[in-house]
């Protein structure tokens, strides 16, 4: 009797409210605040288009996340395949009717928002694969059929994104998918062999790259070969970060961004600007906030009852980690430049939307941690 009542109460609105992960929420809010401050700095210390737009997007999508938190995790489980199919449809739509900007077709015009379906795919591929493996018996995970099927789930959106062309996002989609495969228990040797295979086939892959992509790889290996052309971004980015020093140049005092030496400072290179103005201390603090967020996400997964929720939380947390690491490594000159935004910090509605949906589902897993899924 007591048990039953407790179970019932759990499902009440106030119970759910009390079950929200407030550490995660406050970390997200802090991150949102930092991103707004940084955006304000990219606008040159004024509230201009980017700041305003970023603020609106953050507020709207953060509220949306809260709403999602109250939706039963079962609902997301049931939506797994359908949402994947819808986004896939959107990707196909993009290829035919998308908006072209700077040489690639990535966006769908939704009147109030230019949606980038590839960003959404980063989350929904996790959802889809988590559902796929949730039902699977452990001995079937490594069966030929299931591996093939899951690889198809990954490859279809990936190739649709590659032809936009958007190498960065397609790689991130693939990585998100692979992460799920890893957690689902795919044999280690597959990862090992495919790693080996990709290293061996790297020269062949490079020969298939577009000239500008080849240039990026070459530039990564030696940025000084064309300091005013292809190497410009990475050189200027390193100068900005390096000149920030231990404590940074101070808020709104980053000369590299203020004097327009930094490329893409609103989006992919936002961390550079942050790091220039707040220095080593600030950068480490930012990393710490990301770490706490990721830790909380994984902790929610660990506390969840259902396999689906666990798989989703682990994979999503790891994906966030990968996005952060890839973006930072890129601006710090550790990886070649591929377009990859820093979650929440970077300007961009679709990325924010996708990230917030992800956090919403995680939060829903938290509020429904006792929910088991058949």
């Amino acid at each position: 009797m007591y048990q039953y009542r407790r179970f019932n109460n759990k499902n009440g609105f106030f119970q759910k409210f009390g079950n929200l992960d407030y550490v995660l929420l406050s970390c997200l809010l802090i991150l949102g605040f930092i991103s707004l401050a940084t955006m304000y700095s990219t606008d040159g210390g004024e509230v201009l288009f980017h700041t305003r737009s970023h603020f609106i997007k953050f507020v709207v999508f953060f509220s949306m996340m809260l709403v999602i938190s109250f939706i039963n995790i079962k609902f997301w489980f049931s939506l797994g395949y359908l949402s994947y199919a819808v986004i896939l449809g959107m990707l196909i739509w993009t290829i035919n009717f998308g908006i072209t900007a700077s040489g690639s077709k990535r966006w769908i015009d939704l009147y109030f928002l230019n949606l980038q379906p590839s960003e959404l795919m980063k989350i929904f591929i996790i959802l889809c694969l988590a559902k796929y493996f949730h039902r699977m018996k452990s001995q079937h995970v490594n069966s030929f059929y299931s591996i093939c099927f899951s690889l198809i789930i990954i490859f279809v959106p990936m190739s649709l994104v590659i032809i936009q062309p958007d190498l960065g996002t397609s790689l991130l989609i693939a990585l998100s998918g692979i992460v799920v495969l890893w957690f689902a228990g795919l044999n280690h040797k597959y990862f090992f062999y495919s790693c080996l295979l990709s290293i061996i086939s790297l020269p062949i892959i490079i020969s298939f790259l577009k000239p500008y992509q080849k240039l990026r790889v070459l530039t990564f290996l030696n940025p000084d070969r064309d300091p005013l052309g292809a190497g410009y971004q990475i050189i200027q980015s390193k100068i900005a970060v390096g000149s920030g020093g231990f404590t940074g140049k101070g808020f709104l005092k980053g000369t590299q961004s203020y004097l327009e030496f930094l490329p893409e400072k609103h989006t992919d290179f936002i961390f550079t600007l942050f790091s220039e103005e707040f220095g080593f201390i600030g950068s480490v603090l930012l990393l710490l906030i990301y770490s706490i967020i990721i830790y909380r996400v994984i902790r929610i997964g660990a506390l969840s009852r259902s396999y689906f929720a666990k798989l989703f939380c682990y994979s999503f947390g790891t994906s966030i980690f990968i996005y952060v690491v890839i973006n930072m490594s890129m601006v710090l000159g550790l990886l070649p430049i591929v377009g990859s935004p820093l979650p929440i910090m970077s300007y961009g509605g679709s990325s924010m939307l996708a990230t917030m949906i992800g956090f919403g589902i995680v939060m829903s897993a938290k509020t429904h941690s006792q929910q088991s899924i058949a």
Partner: protein, 624 residues
């Protein structure tokens, strides 16, 4: 339905893998942090410098050029404020309107206007467009009055070269003009200080003393953005003005030389015989160096270039002339020094009817009737050629050339101060063998004795020669920069063997000017204070044929190019000599009638000015 144990295996595997990955994540995070540490803490200095290099750019401003002063501290090449008109196209709302309005106000010609438009298209919109670089005050104030509808137009006062004495100092100072590629290649200093519009010395002392005159750039330091646009000024570092160079020239005398040589081609040099200070040095015709400062117009340039009197040549230093009879003091001195003759050595000059004959060649004296029996003093006084043919024949060209070189002929007087100075030529037998591959013939010795043939001298060399005879035969080093304190070990060493020989020559030169029948007797000054001694010279530019001799034409009847050069060298005051001078009038005719009268005018002023010069020196001494 999933069975319980299977679900547990799955969860186990999941948690295990999560654990592995968490460890990997910590390692990767550590990597990122250490990279941040490396860039921001360890390499911070390097990137800070790079960032400053990015954002800070320096603009050099043209340095302010040093001035030239004459002996009394008057500025003979200074700086003036040029009125200029600048436009920064980007700051102009309606460029077309403004530029047409400016064109109207400044009355620019179509050609000038097109040039401005062309320049505008070459520069970036935030760079300065110089519409006019030297406006008259009237136009400048007109622009200032219309500034209200000329948005973005900036009237600017900039510093530029000015030569207040116009053509008087042109050949000494040279002129400045826009630095060109050649200037940048040959002079490191110019390259280092170059800014568009920099003006550098092209000839004369302006070029020789470029190093000292140029000064150093003022530097404006600006913060710029990635596109090179100035955002804010960070610092202004004031440059130094170039050194002021003081010359030994007396402007009053220099102006007189210019006056005297008006309409003539020629040169006057005046020198202090003890210090070697050049008091005046002028080459005529001259031109106004101011017209070169902002670029000379093509027409004006062609006019100067094609003038048959060659205004561009500094005749004082690079004019090679046969010295004519002005060489005779050296010939006489050389003969006395080598004890070939005694002052009472006598030769009979028998006029044109009975010229000196040697190997079928005849050598005439200038005087048709001949001079009769003449000794050294008399021969010098009347400039008897026959006497000096004989002396030269006995002396030989080699011994003559030794004396001539000793007295400064055949070598550059100013060493490398002027890049256009010529060294002239004192021939000897060895020189001819080497240079022409033929043996010296006696006839050439004979004509060298009267300053014709191979021998070539510049006016400044003749002046130096006269000065060294006048000061009693002591070596001096001419100088044109006042505080040129080059110490020469052999300064004031005697150039003679017997000082009596110098006295004899001086006396002979005195007689030439101050005694009846002297060649420049009519140009004498009787007041002992001003009395001077000199030697005339008339150098032929072409061989006189038998027919010419019969015609005996007056100077004005001969075509200009074939007329004789008139020369005169002198020193004074005779009692206690202080100044020597040389005068050359190209194609002027006879030295006695054309060149010597100028010396009369000059000595009057030179000796009067000597007092002032001395007083100025003393006062300067007191001031210290």
């Amino acid at each position: 339905m999933i069975n319980i144990s299977d679900s547990a295996t799955k969860l186990n595997s999941l948690n295990r893998r999560m654990f592995i990955l968490a460890a990997a994540k910590i390692i990767i995070l550590g990597g990122i942090v250490s990279r941040l540490f490396f860039l921001q803490v360890k390499e911070n200095k390097k990137y800070l410098t790079l960032s400053d290099k990015n954002r800070i750019r320096e603009w050099k401003l043209p340095p302010i050029r040093g001035e030239f002063q004459d002996y009394f501290g008057n500025i003979i090449a200074g700086n003036f404020e040029a009125y200029q008109l600048h436009i920064i196209p980007e700051e102009v709302e309606d460029f077309r309107y403004v530029i047409y309005r400016v064109k109207e106000l400044l009355e620019l010609s179509e050609k000038q206007f097109k040039k401005v438009i062309k320049k505008k298209n070459e520069i970036k919109p935030w760079e300065t467009l110089i519409v006019a670089d030297n406006l008259s005050w009237e136009k400048f104030s007109k622009i200032n009055n219309h500034l209200y509808d000329l948005n973005g137009v900036k009237p600017v006062i900039s510093i530029s070269r000015d030569y207040p004495y116009k053509e008087n100092f042109t050949h000494i100072l040279g002129y400045v003009s826009q630095a060109n590629e050649n200037d940048l290649l040959t002079n490191e200093n110019i390259k280092e200080k170059f800014v568009p519009g920099l003006k550098v010395g092209k000839t004369g002392l302006e070029k020789s003393f470029e190093q000292k005159l140029i000064g150093s750039n003022s530097v404006e330091r600006y913060e710029v953005n990635a596109y090179g646009r100035r955002i804010s000024q960070l610092a202004f570092q004031k440059g130094d003005k170039g050194e002021t160079i003081k010359l030994t020239i007396d402007t009053k005398i220099q102006e007189l030389t210019n006056e005297l040589l008006k309409e003539k081609a020629g040169s006057i040099c005046v020198m202090d015989i003890y210090t070697g200070a050049i008091v005046a040095m002028h080459s005529s015709p001259s031109f106004d160096p101011n017209s070169f400062v902002f670029g000379i117009s093509q027409d004006e340039w062609q006019l100067i270039r094609n003038n048959p009197m060659k205004p561009l040549v500094n005749k004082s230093l690079s004019g090679n002339y046969s010295p004519g009879s002005t060489i005779k003091p050296i010939v006489a001195l050389s003969a006395l020094e080598n004890e070939i003759i005694k002052p009472d050595f006598t030769v009979q000059c028998r006029g044109h009817k009975n010229p000196l004959e040697l190997y079928g060649q005849t050598y005439h004296c200038w005087k048709k009737e001949g001079h009769g029996f003449v000794n050294l003093r008399e021969a010098m006084k009347q400039s008897c050629d026959t006497y000096f043919y004989e002396v030269a024949r006995r002396l030989g060209v080699d011994r003559l050339s030794v004396t001539a070189k000793k007295f400064g002929l055949g070598q550059k007087v100013f060493k490398d101060v002027f890049d256009n100075e010529k060294s002239g030529l004192v021939p000897n037998t060895e020189w001819k063998k080497n240079a022409l591959g033929r043996n010296w013939v006696l006839g050439e010795t004979i004509i060298t004795g009267i300053g014709q043939g191979f021998i070539q001298t510049t006016p400044i060399q003749l002046c130096l020669m006269t000065a060294q005879i006048a000061n009693g035969g002591y070596k001096i080093y001419p100088k044109i920069v006042a505080n040129d304190d080059n110490q020469y070990a052999d300064k004031f060493t005697p150039l003679y063997k017997k000082s009596r020989n110098i006295k004899i020559v001086q006396d002979a030169m005195f007689s030439s000017t101050n005694e009846v029948r002297g060649t420049s007797y009519r140009s004498r000054l009787d007041d002992p204070k001003y009395r001077f001694a000199g030697k005339t010279g008339t150098s032929q530019v072409k061989k006189i044929t038998e027919r010419d001799r019969e015609l005996d034409l007056k100077t004005f009847e001969i075509p200009y190019e074939e007329r004789d050069h008139a020369l005169y060298v002198a020193f004074g005051p005779y009692k206690s000599p202080r100044y020597a001078l040389s005068i050359i009038i190209e194609h002027g005719g006879s030295g006695g009638t054309v060149a010597a009268p100028l010396a009369k005018e000059l000595f009057k002023m030179i000796i009067d000015r000597h007092e002032i010069r001395k007083n100025y020196d003393n006062k300067k001494y007191l001031d210290i």
